[in-house]
Symmetry: C2
Subunit: 368 residues, 2 copies
DNA sequence: CTGAAAGCGCTTACAG
DNA sequence: CTGAAAGCGCTTACAG
C-alpha cells in the first residue's frame, strides 16, 4: 500500500486519460487542494510534500489546464489582436511588438485577420469576447466608434492602433499623420520641388485623410498651389502605386516629386518610374511613409517617415494592461513619426514648372 | 410575477456581473439546461420558448463563455502556431494561409514567436499544450524530433512546416528544396553561367542544406566544378545578403551569377551589387528563393522559386484537422517549388572564366 | 500545514 | 419537450 509504483504507472499510462490534479492527488495520497497548492508553489504546503507532489506530477507528465484555471480565476491571460492582414509588413511589425510584450508578461495572443472588412472585424472582436480574452487590440480599425457601446458590456478593454475610423476612440495609439506628412512634404519643398504629387489610399481611412491634409498644409504654408491632378489614389499596396505613378507620369506636366501614402505604394511607384527609365531622384523624387524594413533596400533607399511599429505595438499592449488593471482615463497616445531622409529624394533639377533644357532622361523628353 | 420587466433590467445591468446561462434561465423561468439547449439551437426544445430565450439572451447582452464550454466539450476550437518571427514576410504569408483556413472552420489561432530560439520554441509549444489547443503548427522548427515523445503525452497533434531539424518528423509539409534549388541552378547554367555562387543561411537549417545540395547537384550534372570560395554564408535576411555579396564581389574572379538562399538575401545582395554600380543581369545574374510578394517589385524583378506559402499554410491546417479527426498515418507532404524566371537572370556575357574584354561596368574592370 | 466544500459557466446523459 | 444532477479541472475561502 505504501509503494506507489503500480499506481504511478497506472496514471502515467492512463490510456486515453490525461492526468489531472486528482490523479496526482491519488498518487501522492493527499487531497487535490494540496496538489493545487503545491503546484502553485504556495507557502501553505509542507516543503517536502510539495517537493514530492511536484516530482510525481512531473513523472506523470501532468500539464495543468489553463482553461480550467481560467474559468475559476476569471482571467485567461490572453489578448486578442485583430489586424487587417498579417501579410502586410507594417501590420506584421506591429504584431511582433505586441507579441513580444505579451510574451514578457506570460500572456498568449490570439490573431485574427479582418481583411479590412468591417463585418469580419466585428466578428473577430466578438469571437475574442467569447473566448474571454483579457484585452483586445485592433489595428487599422474600420469601425472604431462601434466599440463604444460594446466596451461597457464586454469586460475586455480595447485599444486601437492607427484607428481608421473618422470618429475618435477612447483608447488608441496613433502615428501623428498630419505632422509627419507635413514634414516630409516640407522636405520635398526644401529640395526645390513645387509639383509634388500625393498618391493616397483609396480605402480612404483616417490616416489617408490626415496625411493628405499634412501634405496640403505644407503646400499652403509654402505658397505652393495645390493641383488636383497631382492628388491620385492608390490602394496602400504596390500594385496601386504602380498604377497611380503611371497615371502621374502621363500627365502633361508631370510632378518632380511624389509623396506616397506608404512605403508599399512607393515601392510600386518606383517600379513604374523605373519601367519608364526615369531615375530616382535625378528625374523625380519619391517619398514613402512607414519605414518598413524594406525601405532601406529599395534602389535607391527610400526617404520616408519612420513609424516605430514595434514600439507602437508595445505601447498598445502597455495601455491595454493599464486598462486591465482598472485604469479608466482615456489613453489617446499620439506617436510622432520621424523623417528619414535617404536617397530617393533630392533637389529639383528642373527650373520652374516647365523645363525644356536639363533632362537626363530621353524617355522623359519623349513624354513631353 | 409574470411580467419579466424588473428582472430583465436587473440582469441587463448587473453592475459588475456578466450575464450567464443561469441569469437567462431566471429571466425566462426555465432551467439553465433549457437555456443551453435553446442557445445551441437544439431541436429538443419548444420552438417558441427557444425563440423567447434567445430574445432574452440577446437583450441581456449574453455572450457565452468559450472557456466554460471548452472545459466540458474537451475541445477549445483553437490551434497554436509557433513561428520564428511574424515580421519575416515568408512566415507572415504562411500564417495568413493558416489563419484563413482556421477561420473558415471557426477556429481561432494563437500566435507565438520563437525567434528561432529552440528553448522559446519548446516553451511556446508547452504553453499551447496548457491552453489545450486542438492542434499545433510550427514553422521552421529547430527541434523537430523533440516533439516525437511529446506527441504521445500531448493530445494535440503537431504539424511542421519547413522543418529545419535534420531528422524527419512524422507530420510535415515541406517545400522540395533540393529539386527547386537544382532547377534554378540549372536555369543559371543554361544561361551560360559557370561561376555560380551560393549565399546560404548560416543558421544552417535543413532547408539550407538541401538547397545547397540541389545547387551542387546541378553543378555536378553539368560538369561545372564546385568552387568552395563561391559558397558563402548569409543569415536569411537582407543584411546577410549585403555582406555576403560584398565578399563575393571582392574575390579575384567574381561569380557571374548568384543563387541566394531566399529572396530577402537576394534583396540584400542586389543592394550590394548596385552599390558597386554593377547592373543586374548584365553584369551579374541574381536568383532568390520563396517568391515573396516583393520579388516582383525589386529592380529588376527577381528570378526565384515560388513557394506557395498560403497554400502551404492551408495544407498544414488541413493535415492538422485530419490528425485531429483521428488519422494516424504519417503525413509528410512535399510541395514542389516553381521556377519563376523574371529579369534578374540573363545570359552570361563573359567568355570563359577569365574575361578581360567585354564589360559594361567600369567598376568591374577596376575590381580586377 | 491540510482537507472538505463550493463554485467558475457550461454540456449532456438520465429520468420523467 | 423539460429539469435535476453530474461533471469538465481547476482555485480558494473556510474550518480545523
Amino acid at each position: 500500500m505504501t509503494h506507489a509504483e503500480p499506481e504511478k504507472n497506472d496514471a502515467a499510462m492512463p490510456g486515453t486519460h490525461r492526468a489531472s490534479i486528482k490523479d496526482i492527488a491519488r498518487l501522492a495520497h493527499v487531497s487535490h487542494s494540496t496538489v493545487s497548492r503545491a503546484l502553485a508553489n504556495s507557502s501553505l504546503v509542507n516543503t517536502e510534500t510539495a517537493e514530492r507532489i511536484r516530482r510525481l506530477a512531473e513523472q506523470a507528465g501532468y500539464c495543468p489546464s489553463a482553461v480550467a484555471r481560467s474559468l475559476v480565476t476569471r482571467s485567461t491571460r490572453t489578448i486578442g489582436v485583430v489586424v487587417t492582414n498579417i501579410a502586410d509588413p507594417f501590420v506584421a511589425e506591429v504584431v511582433e511588438g505586441i507579441e513580444s510584450a505579451a510574451n514578457d508578461r506570460d500572456y498568449s495572443v490570439f490573431l485574427a485577420n479582418s481583411n479590412a472588412d468591417p463585418a469580419r472585424e466585428v466578428k473577430a472582436v466578438r469571437s475574442f469576447h467569447e473566448r474571454r480574452v483579457d484585452g483586445i487590440i485592433v489595428t487599422a480599425s474600420r469601425v472604431g466608434a462601434v466599440y463604444l457601446p460594446m466596451l461597457s458590456e464586454m469586460r475586455a478593454p480595447i485599444v486601437l492602433v492607427n484607428n481608421q475610423h473618422p470618429s475618435e476612440f477612447v483608447h488608441s495609439v496613433t502615428i501623428a499623420n498630419f505632422e509627419a506628412a507635413r514634414d516630409i512634404t516640407r522636405h520635398l519643398i526644401e529640395e526645390g520641388h513645387s509639383r509634388i504629387a500625393y498618391i493616397g489610399d483609396q480605402l480612404g481611412g483616417q490616416s489617408d485623410t490626415e496625411r493628405f491634409e499634412g501634405y496640403r498644409a505644407a503646400l499652403d504654408e509654402a505658397g505652393v498651389p495645390f493641383e488636383a491632378e497631382l492628388a491620385v489614389r492608390g490602394n496602400g499596396r504596390a500594385e496601386g502605386g504602380v498604377d497611380a505613378a503611371c497615371a502621374l507620369l502621363e500627365i502633361a506636366a508631370p510632378p518632380t516629386a511624389i509623396f506616397c501614402y506608404n512605403d508599399m505604394t512607393a515601392i510600386g511607384a518606383l517600379r513604374a518610374i523605373h519601367a519608364r527609365h526615369w531615375r530616382v531622384p535625378r528625374d523625380i523624387s519619391l517619398a514613402g511613409f512607414d519605414d518598413l524594413y524594406l525601405a532601406q533596400y529599395t534602389d535607391p533607399p527610400l526617404t520616408t517617415v519612420r513609424q516605430p511599429m514595434r514600439e507602437m505595438g508595445r505601447i498598445a499592449l502597455d495601455t491595454l494592461f493599464a486598462l486591465m488593471r482598472g485604469a479608466t482615463t482615456p489613453h489617446s497616445i499620439k506617436v510622432p513619426g520621424q523623417l528619414v531622409v535617404r536617397e530617393s529624394t533630392g533637389p529639383n533639377t528642373k527650373e520652374g514648372l516647365e523645363c525644356s533644357s536639363y533632362s537626363f532622361s530621353p524617355h522623359r523628353m519623349a513624354a513631353k
